[in-house]
């Protein structure tokens, strides 16, 4: 079973009442990967994750953890997952320490206290305080400790950095990097791409219950587009930059904004034909790259339906 995927969704469908929340998801996450599950709120990220943990049941299709079916081998599958819910609720009257002891008692594997202490120290968590008195960020830290403390083979984290300050976010990224370094798998969801581009190996994008893309992050970064702002001495004729992979975004007299997906060389040569006063280029965030590749821009939509007023 060593070559089975860490996580696999097979044609996973989930209906809530009359609404299709997941529309036949197929996804395979390999062992040792850090996989970012991205999508806007309401796209189905949490629904897919909750199917994996057998908290909700698929309408059809399958969710597997290390080859174990989430329904048929539910307890065995969960023994190998550490889970952080997106909406974390803990017992307010227990202290952090008591909460840790309680959840540790539910696991078959005895707790490695050295590892636990390392987590507590690195996240600067205070385990003696009652959970009810903790801030949102500190609760989130406790949730992360609970998910990670058993050193599970598969970590499933729903919005792990929500509510954390940037310092703690950086620590979490380091910790997740270490987990993957040990050959364990991290699967986490986020609606913020910039949050994942530091640590993910691959990302999957889900929108309206469908996986729209699965990409190596390196590939995606390679595809990064440029936005070039050129100020010319005189206005240039329209259509001067009508090149494939290039889009003229805006034109204010002699200032032109270009979005360049490819053909950078041709663009620069086209620019050089005119007198340039100023040139600025920025590499947009991965976020903008994504939007450019996977979302129809309003302009594209207008082009597609010119008859509609």
């Amino acid at each position: 079973m060593t070559d089975s995927a860490a996580i696999e969704f097979r044609r996973l469908v989930k209906d809530y009442g009359g609404v299709r929340a997941l529309d036949g998801i197929d996804l395979r996450v390999e062992q040792g990967e850090i996989f970012g599950f991205l999508g806007p709120n309401g796209a189905g990220k949490t629904t897919a994750i909750r199917c994996l943990l057998d908290l909700i049941r698929p309408t059809s299709g399958q969710a597997l953890v290390l080859g174990l079916d989430s329904r048929a081998d539910s307890v065995a599958a969960r023994a190998r997952i550490g889970y952080l819910p997106g909406d974390l609720s803990l017992y307010d009257t227990l202290t952090g320490e008591e909460t840790i002891a309680y959840f540790a008692s539910l696991r078959p594997k005895p707790l490695d206290h050295t590892y636990l202490d390392m987590l507590i120290t690195r996240l600067t968590f205070e385990p003696q305080r009652p959970v009810g008195a903790l801030s949102k960020g500190n609760r989130q830290k406790l949730g992360l400790i609970l998910a990670m403390m058993n050193q599970p083979e598969v970590l499933v984290l729903d919005e792990p950095t929500a509510g954390l300050d940037p310092l703690a976010q950086a620590v979490v990224e380091e910790l997740l990097g270490d987990v993957a370094g040990e050959g364990r798998t991290v699967f986490f969801s986020s609606h913020i791409l910039s949050e994942v581009d530091q640590i993910c190996h691959r990302v999957g994008i889900i929108r309206a219950g469908k996986i729209v893309a699965v990409e190596e992050l390196a590939m995606l970064k390679g595809r990064a587009l440029h936005v070039i702002e050129v100020t010319f001495a005189r206005p240039v004729p329209p259509g001067a930059f009508d090149l494939p992979g290039v889009q003229e975004l805006r034109r204010d007299g002699s200032v032109i904004h270009l979005e360049v997906r490819s053909n950078l060389d041709a663009v620069l040569k086209a620019i050089a034909r005119y007198e340039v006063v100023d040139l600025r280029t920025e590499q947009p965030s991965l976020e903008q790259t994504f939007l450019a590749f996977y979302q129809e821009s309003p302009a594209a939509r207008q082009e597609a339906s010119p008859a509609v007023p």
Binding site: G18, T46, L55
Partner: protein, 251 residues
Amino acid sequence: MVVALYPSYAGQLEDFELPETLQKLFGMEDYTSPEGFVSTEFFSQSVPILLTIFAIMQGTSALAGEEAGGTLELLLSQPVSRRRVALEKIGGFLISTVVISIIVCPAWLISIPAVGVDISVTDTMLATFSFLPLVWAFYAASLFAAAALPNRRLATGVVVLFAVATYIVYALAQAVDILDPLRWLTPFNYYNGSQILRDGPDLAGAAALCVASAVLGLLAVQAFEKRDLGVRGEVSLRALLHLRPATETSG
């Protein structure tokens, strides 16, 4: 306190004469003897009602309460089966009710003789334990309703309605003959509170309640195993109207 009231009542009670129908309605057929007085005051009126409320509160909060509060999410994500979680909740409740009864016993044993009412120790203890099957039945019914229905408030409403309706049927059936055929439907029929100290517990009735509790308990476990776990604070009406959950956190 009510026990202490008996001696002062006793004089008046000798010529206490409610119309027969009303006596039956309130389960007060035997109000003027010591056994009848204690039976009526406690075992037929206050305590079963209080305990029924307690059982319904416990039954609807055990699993459904944790579900609505969101803590069940992390608990059920651990490698424990839903069956185990449900059975342990039930076991915990059974033990706590027995412990409560044992704790309450000395209070009866002291207060009843203290006011000069002569009721034997065994009878008092039996009477105390005779509540249990009734409590268990309502607990199991609440647990089942909470597991089978989309949300806790609806479940509480349904069970409370059932309790009130069956209590009224039970009370009226003692006075009104046409309701008599319906008596077997009410849980209170299997618990003879108002005659408990005089006649001893209704063992057949207790057994029937235990069977009903076990069946409802198993149905509850089954319904809980099948259930899609709700997210915290999920708006119930939306679930009923087949709308998308309103508070899905991020996906």
